[in-house]
């Protein structure tokens, strides 16, 4: 019996010729990640373990991005704890405000993850790097601490669900719509404990930014990881961003999958997840009249260049509906700067949006755009749980940057095509 992509990466990092689903292994880590929320707990555990140095100075990444720029005194204390630890341990990949970004936008941009890598991060959206053909998964702070101290982590080898993507997405349909469609189909625990492996000819029509969005939300189906086959676009991305050497793993032809889904990308419509779960999806044609108070465009899910370009394409020369608040937060300082140079930021501001420094802020109800009781937001983020973005009686609708931007103009959830035709 052959192995899946994920199983091959795990076997290689455990020094084994082969592994099978359910097997417990200990594997070597290429990168251990933490942020300002999870790292302070990990640092405490690291010290309790009696560890006095990290396993590798260049294989630990610390990114204060959640409550930064420091939102209050307690958040400042947490960031200080991470900063001092990074300095003491001489961690090479510590990113201060000014050079930082939202961790899952930043690490690929900095070339810290390449195909075939094994990455753990104390943040559930660490699965983002599967877009690069790497195995990456979210863990808690104690696992992060043990990973920083030993460079190893134990795993139960996952089985997998295969998604064969065919055809070409039409119109405004993006990676966000595809992954929302898939989560709507299999449910928020549809891939619990498993890998989601994305293969098929349709992948060539999905940009790297779109693939990051899709792998990012694998956790919203309960998956351990989401992973894409490596193609020319992946190689081009890696050559442009990294000097690390990489290994391409392909699934064996006789690899075993728990389930196989064939998805025709040409049939997918812009998709929106209604409150309060990411699997509560409807196509844009089934949305009905949903008036909104706020639009959030950004996050580790949709804060990349392509996302900002799409938003600007729709908002350029138009005005945000009176009474609607639009908050755009680019994923990294580089994305912010590139968007400035392209004129995107100017277009967004002229339309009436506010542009924030990179931060996780509003996505998790931290700061910079919290919702009051009864308010509704369309967000390009990843979760719409009860109270996720503010008051427990507020509502979050998950959508693509195109739908979010069109909704900003009309004040209700809108198909971008409808908006453009109306003009």
């Amino acid at each position: 019996m052959g192995m899946t992509m994920t199983q091959k990466i795990l076997a290689a990092h455990a020094g084994l010729d082969r592994v099978e689903a359910g097997q417990l292994i200990e594997a070597n880590l290429d990168l251990v990640l933490g942020n300002d929320i999870t790292s302070p707990v990990a640092i405490r555990e690291f010290e309790k373990m009696g560890a006095n140095k990290v396993f590798h100075r260049s294989k630990v990444a610390l990114v204060p991005d959640h409550f930064t720029p420091n939102k209050d005194i307690k958040a400042a204390e947490q960031c200080k704890c991470v900063r001092e630890f990074a300095k003491k341990m001489e961690v090479e990949n510590y990113f201060e405000v000014g050079e930082m970004g939202i961790e899952h936008c930043l690490l690929p941009e900095k070339g810290l993850v390449v195909p075939g890598d094994l990455v753990i991060g104390a943040d559930s959206h660490t699965c983002t790097y599967g877009a690069l053909g790497a195995f990456s998964t979210g863990v808690g702070s104690t696992d992060m601490a043990a990973g920083m101290a030993t460079g190893k982590c134990w795993f139960k080898v996952p089985s997998a669900i295969k998604f064969v993507l065919k055809g070409k997405p039409q119109g405004w349909v993006s990676g966000k719509d595809i992954i929302l469609h898939i989560i709507g189909m299999i449910g928020v625990d549809g891939a619990l404990y498993k890998s989601m492996e994305f293969v098929g000819d349709g992948i060539q029509h999905i940009s790297m930014d779109g693939r990051f969005t899709m792998a990012n939300m694998a956790i919203e189906a309960g998956a351990k990881n989401g992973i894409f086959i490596v193609d020319e676009k992946t190689i081009e991305y890696v050559l442009n961003h990294s000097s690390k050497s990489w290994t391409v793993y392909e699934p064996d032809a006789d690899a075993e999958y728990d389930e196989v889904y064939e998805i025709d990308l040409s049939k997918i419509r812009p998709t929106v997840a209604f409150p309060h779960l990411p699997d509560n999806t409807r196509t844009i044609d089934e949305v009905g009249d949903v008036e909104i108070d706020q639009v959030v465009i950004g996050s580790c899910t949709n804060g990349r260049m392509e996302d900002l370009r799409v938003a600007a394409k729709i908002l350029k020369g138009r005005k945000v509906k009176k009474g609607v608040r639009v908050i755009v937060f680019p994923g990294t300082q580089k994305i912010y700067l590139d968007a400035l140079k392209e004129g995107i930021i100017e277009q967004l501001i002229e339309a009436g949006a506010v542009v924030s420094t990179p931060t996780c802020g509003p996505c998790l109800g931290g700061h910079m755009g919290i919702l009051a009781k009864g308010e509704r937001a369309v967000a390009t983020t990843n979760r719409n749980f009860v109270g996720r973005m503010g008051h427990t009686e507020s509502e979050v609708y998950l959508a693509s940057p195109a739908v979010a931007a069109a909704s900003a103009v009309t004040g209700k959830i809108t198909d971008p095509d409808t908006l453009l035709k109306a003009d």
């Binding site: 929320i37 999870t38 302070p40 707990v41 405490r44 555990e45 309790k48 373990m49 009696g50 959640h66 409550f67 939102k71 209050d72 307690k74 958040a75 947490q78 991060g121 104390a122 943040d123 559930s124 660490t126 979210g138 863990v139 808690g140 702070s141 104690t142 696992d143 601490a145 043990a146 030993t150 928020v188 625990d189 619990l192 404990y193 956790i219 309960g222 351990k224 779960l277 998790l364 109800g365 931290g366 979760r383 749980f385 009860v386 109270g387 996720r388 427990t392």
Partner: protein, 169 residues
């Protein structure tokens, strides 16, 4: 190792945002976190929970964010055990790592209601609903997990182990 207490009963997909909302994550102090445990799904939880009480929920308990603050808040609130049909994987790992006992047992979940008195024997995996007089069997913890629980978490377990045989890990 046993647990006994009154049951707080929840449905599917209890996420870590409702277990401990992000607005309280500017601290990692267990007592402060416990003061807001389950606040967004059950505002009375903190007021009513007593040491030893048990949380019982349906599928996918602990989904969402990787915040270890979630099992830390539950444990610090006095809860002795969480029983669910299934757990989200990161929560599962985190709970074991910090020494919060958790069991997967769908039959027990179906046979337990809010307020029931329940007793759990972690060595055998036997779950007794004392209120209804019914018994269920979950798969007991493997040996290494029992040791982690007995040591009150992975870090203490590693420390104790190292102190015992003198070898670094």
């Amino acid at each position: 190792m046993k647990a006994k207490g009154r049951v707080f009963r929840y449905n599917n997909n209890v996420d870590t945002d409702v277990i401990i909302p992000a607005r309280y994550l500017n601290t990692s102090d267990p007592k402060e976190l416990a003061a807001h445990c389950m606040e967004d799904i059950d505002p009375d939880f903190v007021k009513n929970v007593k040491p030893g009480d048990i949380i019982v929920a349906d599928r996918n308990f602990g989904c969402g964010s990787s915040r270890e603050h979630a099992p830390i808040a539950i444990k610090a609130s006095g809860v002795s055990c969480v029983i669910a049909s299934t757990f989200a994987r990161i929560f599962y790992r985190n709970a074991i790592n910090i020494g919060l006992p958790i069991l997967e047992c769908e039959q027990a979940v179906k046979g337990i209601e809010a307020g029931d008195e329940v007793e759990v024997d972690f060595d055998t995996g036997i779950i007794r609903n004392l209120t209804k007089g019914t018994t269920f069997k979950a798969r007991p913890f493997p040996e290494f997990m029992k040791k982690i629980m007995a040591a009150d978490g992975l870090v203490n377990y590693i420390r104790t182990k190292n102190a015992g045989d003198g070898s670094p890990s």
